[in-house]
């Protein structure tokens, strides 16, 4: 009869495994628990962190819905303050758009990455021939983080 061998983990190994698992889970979930609304002025982010995030192809905005690792295409608010001293914000009938693109070479990023174009609000107002800008939405298209295109839609009159 063949003797059965059973691997036994000592209490120290089990404790180490549990601590390691808890630490891994804490690290991956920490991003969900830390407010990162830096542009809203609520949670300042160090320039180093912001720079690293920007050169990795990630986008920084006050409101970022959950993105997709393979494919992302969504629109979200950029401007979210509508009180306007009690008068409210009019939903404009005209729209102007500006955009910027990002391309990185896999395996060599962030060193071989390129970003170009004019995504300024001025350019968006010019493209829509707007005299008055009421609010702004933005749109993101990203494929595997290799190519990312960000558009800003300015609405007004």
């Amino acid at each position: 009869m063949r003797p059965t061998t059973k691997t036994r983990h000592g209490p120290l190994a089990r404790l180490g495994g549990l601590l390691l698992g808890a630490a891994a889970l804490a690290v991956v979930t920490a991003g969900c628990a830390i407010p990162r609304g830096a542009t809203a002025g609520l949670s300042p982010v160090s320039p180093a962190v912001t720079s690293a995030q920007a050169t990795s192809g990630a986008w920084i905005a006050p409101v970022v819905p959950p993105p997709g690792w393979i494919f992302t295409q969504y629109q979200a608010p950029l401007d979210y303050r509508f009180a306007n001293q009690g008068a409210g914000t009019t939903v404009g009938t005209r729209m102007g758009t500006s955009e910027a693109s990002y391309l990185r070479i896999p395996l060599f990023s962030p060193y071989l990455s390129f970003a170009w174009d004019d995504a300024s609000l001025r350019e968006a107002q010019r493209s829509g021939a707007l005299q008055q800008a009421d609010y702004v939405d933005y749109e993101v298209l990203s494929v595997l983080g290799i190519y990312t295109n960000v558009k800003f839609h300015v609405y007004g009159e």
Partner: protein, 109 residues
């Protein structure tokens, strides 16, 4: 048994790690397993009126791999038939990072 627990914890960590997280101006604490809350999007209330109408727009992310939708202010205003916006909230729903939904809610007249 021990290996199964480690494998399940690993799968959970990978799922949550792959799924990107929400960023918003105001974020209440989130649950890693389940989250469903509403919070202010427009937190700067200066004599703002309480709008009679409400409009919604939403985006969703599945497994943190694919994200689609239109959660813009424009779409929410169109949904509610709103011509003047007075305020905005947002809603976030998440189950283990497998299904995440972000909803923009605007109020106005």
């Amino acid at each position: 048994m021990y290996r199964k627990i480690v494998a399940m914890a690993g799968a959970l960590a990978i799922t949550v790690g792959l799924s990107g997280c929400l960023v918003a101006p105001v974020m209440p604490p989130m649950g890693a397993v389940f989250t469903d809350y509403k919070a202010p999007l427009d937190w700067d209330q200066q004599a703002s009126q309480v709008g009679a109408r409400e409009g919604r727009s939403e985006t969703m992310s599945i497994l943190g791999l694919v994200a689609l939708g239109d959660g813009s202010i424009r779409e929410a205003a169109r949904d509610g038939g709103i011509t003047t916006i007075h305020g905005a909230d947002y809603e976030y729903f998440n189950v283990l990072g497998i299904y995440q939904r972000y909803t923009t809610i605007v109020y106005g007249d």
